[in-house]
Symmetry: C2
Subunit: 357 residues, 2 copies
């Protein structure tokens, strides 16, 4: 099914309103989710809605959160999301970071007591729109094992850095710190297709290409895949995201992070509140005039596009470019939704008495 | 040869003094280099001295730099290193970041017109000593090709995040953003030993295990090694380091970064001044009380040490622990230097009329 951006927005807002969100929060949540679908990151778009509804039904997501600042200095703060969705909690935190950056040059906000925040890029781009460099990261349900372990201790813990450019679109590095994002594994599972060596290990810690190995105690591997190829670096990056997002904010970290799926219960002995995020903004003109920076960004991008190619048909990809190309196409041609997602969404429509897609 | 820390310090200071450094700068440079040797990161310790001397002889390193702040806001700044060694320029920048953090919660400093800065961990640890989270990164001579390219466009561009803990030592993630650090490749070259697939490619962009492939137009691969295993993420991280260190500060970036070796000339058309670094400090108590944070860091470390193991003889490694173990051992037993390094150092001693090692 191909659906227009506007129809998908209208439908998604109705679902959030039916869960008791305010109109403001329903529109904001929709904006974050639909941007993922527009940018081709389908695993983080409206496909997530049914999971949110299930967590809300279990009382694990508060759709009317009282988001508050629990601690702050001129350029740092900790925000409590009141068990709200990261989709609304994180923009609150990023707005605060941007305000601090406007006055002092930079702003940094750690978030506790939150839930899934969608794509990191949405939040980082809020800063870019103000000629700032944007940072966003989050911890997530444990699926990834540290190097030498077969225990799921860390989420795919994405980190995002976004930089404004001049004539080119912003350069956005938005990446899971695991070898493969969970969304890619889900696609392989759906197609029952073997995955490359180095993405996952089985319950004993042996290499496997079986995409279903996570269901029998397997785990995702950190970026680098094995020690020889730097998996300790992927582990270190994931640890960094976990510490900044949760140890710093007072959220749950490591294996205590609450599962994103409603059929798994959170730890009975949590070490913090909900999941954690970390966002930041730095004014470009806190370092050099913004037009100078942007013109050098353009030069950087131009030069990397001109790098010699191994295969002339496969160009060097500037981070963020494929997602922007998808966004342009899908805004024009509509957003493709797979049958399973359409079914889920129509079931939600029936549940809430909303018109089906 | 095994040499005591103190003897190595005395010798190294004399070399810097002979190059015209002030006593303060000679002591500081020595402190950075010897910490690398103590921590077992031999590629970044006194083995570098001969390279520094050669660059100084060519007029590419200024041993008496007038380091200055060229732009700042309350929490951001750009520092010009006046072509000094990063060993002295970066501590200046980190001190400034720490001062800003003391007043405003966080501080961020981009550095241009600098040279090699030693181990990133030295600079990040300066913040940790003040109960702050420390960040340090630098760009470097181009050796790494972006995904899909066979052109050396980026350095091994390390990033370092350092966190204070309580009863445990600080957790320090200090990593090259390439699959293998250049130091590891140099060891393989010295031993004429094949390297693992996924570290380097030859001039045509084909996989190779020949450690000498870089001498015939080959390149290092980004962390992730190939597209299927996430090399675009390693490229993205390296790009992030390059942009924060150089596009933001006004240093050279990408393929324009001046070579670290004196027999290769810098670009005749530079896009900035010298190489660039980026450092930052955030007060832990800008987010939550420092003792709370440290006690949760201890809990994080304890739990990760208890992760189930694939092979009971190989424990999970907490980032920074092996380096600290080396430091303790070498402080006690002395620092081993390989013959090639001892010869280089004694040649320097002869050149400057200093007593040999």
């Amino acid at each position: 099914m191909i659906i227009s951006e506007q129809s998908l927005r209208t439908f998604t807002q109705k679902i959030f309103l039916a869960m008791g969100s305010t109109m403001e929060h329903a529109m904001l949540s929709t904006d974050v989710l639909v941007l993922a679908d527009l940018r081709g990151i389908d695993s983080h778009g409206v496909a997530r809605l049914i999971g949110y509804v299930r967590l809300w039904e279990k009382g694990r997501i508060n759709t009317n959160p009282n988001i508050s600042i629990v601690h702050q200095t001129p350029t740092t703060a900790t925000v409590d999301g009141d068990a709200g969705l990261g989709l609304v909690v994180t923009p609150f935190a990023m707005k605060l970071a941007i305000e601090k950056a406007e006055t002092y040059g930079s702003g940094w906000v750690a978030v506790r007591n939150s839930n899934h925040f969608g794509i990191a890029g949405y939040h980082a781009l809020m800063a870019v729109e103000k000629d700032m460099i944007g940072f966003a990261m989050t911890n997530a349900s444990p699926l990834v094992a540290p190097t030498y372990s077969n225990e799921r201790m860390l989420g795919t813990n994405p980190m995002c850095y976004a930089f404004p450019a001049g004539k080119f679109p912003p350069l956005i590095v938005d990446m899971a710190t695991s070898a493969a994002a969970n969304g890619k594994l889900e696609i392989a599972q759906r197609l029952d297709k073997q995955v490359p060596d180095g993405w996952i290990q089985d319950a004993n810690g042996a290499n496997t290409t079986d995409p279903h190995a996570l269901k029998t105690g397997g785990s995702l591997l950190p970026l680098g895949s094995d020690r020889e190829h730097g998996s300790h670096k992927g582990f270190g990056l994931s640890a960094t995201v976990d510490i900044l997002s949760a140890v710093l904010s007072g959220a749950n970290y490591g294996p205590w992070v609450p599962p994103f799926v409603s059929f798994l219960e959170p730890s009975p002995n949590p070490v913090g509140l909900g999941i954690g995020h970390f966002v930041g903004a730095m004014r470009v003109d806190g370092f050099r005039p913004a037009d100078e920076f942007k013109s050098h960004m353009d030069n950087w991008i131009t030069r990397f596009k001109e790098a010699t190619l191994i295969d002339p048909s496969q160009k060097v990809v500037i981070p963020g470019e494929p997602e922007l190309a998808a966004q342009t196409k899908r805004k024009r041609d509509g957003i493709p939704l797979v049958d399973a997602v359409v079914n889920d969404l129509n079931n939600l429509a029936d549940k809430f008495g909303i018109e089906r897609l």
